[in-house]
Amino acid sequence: MSLLLDIAQVGKTFTQGGLLSRRTVEAVKDISLQIEAEKPEILSVVGESGSGKSTLAAMVLGQQLPTRGLVLFDGVDVASIRSSAARRAFMAKVQPVLQNPFEAFNPLKRVDRYLFATAANFMMAKSKPTRQEIEARVDRALVEVGLTLAEVRGRFPHELSGGQLQRTAIARALIPDPRLLVADEPVSMVDASLRMSIVNLFGSLRDRLGLSIIYITHDLATAYYISDRIIIMKKGEVVERGSARDVLDNPQHPYSIALKKAVLTPDFA
């Protein structure tokens, strides 16, 4: 059994203030977490604001280095990556999807520019790609998310709906053929009628492409709907973990119970 992602006793401490008024904040405390390479899954990370969800994601993406512990991706310590070639190889395997698609793309630039730039960046490693090769790669990624290059070519972000733009952002992440997506609140800015199309897309990416997805959210209902495993975080610690269905059907920790109790459902009507 090989591990795709192995987070071992990871902690992150932020320091604020100067010499005299130094304060430390423990954003993440001793978290361990594994994702197997052969078993693609959607892992939900749930918790209130300030519980350390986004810090954990930043450490998986290599954007923040852990203060303690190790983040191993495919057996390689993320903190040991130094050269730009190694970093590019790592980034090709782990890609982010951001919360707000309207902020992820520059409103004054055409959306396809980001797609072509990503494709050119990651294909450069082999040999200098031709325009056709780049376009074919971009089109293939867009087809995976239910769009085509013809629909997106030359468009500005305001010409696409929130759902289309979020799909484009996911397509951009798929261009280098990653093994893991880290999606930080990917549906909280998307309209109600389009939200489920994004969540269903995650399910089909897992089933068709064998992609693992870390799905960070505070929406327990979509986490229950789509994810295989769930961890519930509070103040930097994992308070409960397990199969999503088991944990949410029958939460044990007082915080998980409070969280489930706070979820509003249409049954109240």
Partner: protein, 343 residues
Amino acid sequence: MQTEALLHTPPDTTSEPTLVVDRLKAYYTTKAFGIDRDIRAVDDISLTVAKGEIYGVAGESSSGKTSLIKTIVGAIRPPLHVVGGTVRFNFGGQNYDIYDLKPDQLQAIRWRHLSYIMQGSMNVLNPVRRIKHSFYDFAYAHMGLDRATFWNTVRDHLRRLDLDPGVLESYPHQLSGGMRQRTTIALATVCTPEFIVADEPTTALDVIVQRDVLAMLRDIQRDLGSSFLFVTHDMSVHATVSDRVGIVYAGRLVEEADTPTLFRGARHPYTQHLVASLPKIGDTTRRASLSGRPPSLADPPSGCRFHPRCPLAMDICSKEVPPMVNLAPRHRVACFAVSGATS
């Protein structure tokens, strides 16, 4: 394990309604390079809100929800302007037509009778001044009290809402998002207004804080007997707090019903889709997603604006605008497939 709904006092539907909106139209008109463009953000909307009622407005982003309520409270600026229709409030037997009032008359009813919790309202607090200054700036002039009485009233109000009066001495950045939101709601309700408009008051908050804020709004409604116009795209929030919900699609009201009717017996295909697509804990049946994209208000589809995405679309739908038809008392729908294509 099931939680209880947030209960509140039933609305008083026998006396005169607090708000009557009649055939309201408001467009954004832009003139660029000699070409006029109208964006029909509010297109022929009629609705009433009874005394003590929580009326929910639902719809996706850029469907015109915020434009609708800005027009209702008279807080519009060019290029948004009213093209037709009226907005009439009834406060204590007095009628006020928002677009007939002089600016100083409007000023006098605002905050005292009519208050507005804006979207992202945590940002209305001045970041470089203590919160007490925001209270003073917003509310002092409207209350007509001397300073000592004013501050006592403010402190009593905060205590009633389970907020420590100490927040008055804090700066906004010292409070968490949930505390800031509750403070701004306290600020909007300190003058005990009869009508409160809330635009996405819980959208940026996590689930536990969201529940606290909704409970607080419910308490205010119970204590003051105010009417609410409650706008959010989150249908679960409507299920929890609203008495009646109106669904807005591309600037038009497409269906309106009491909340239980809307969630169990919606008739418009768009409403049915919205209700059916809600995920629930304990239910893993596959949720379909709607094809197509939300329409652009600058160039909306002809006839019924939902017809390009509608599973029931007929010939007439692309040619004529479906009228609002009463199916039952307090249940209206605008759809040819439901009401029959006789117009």
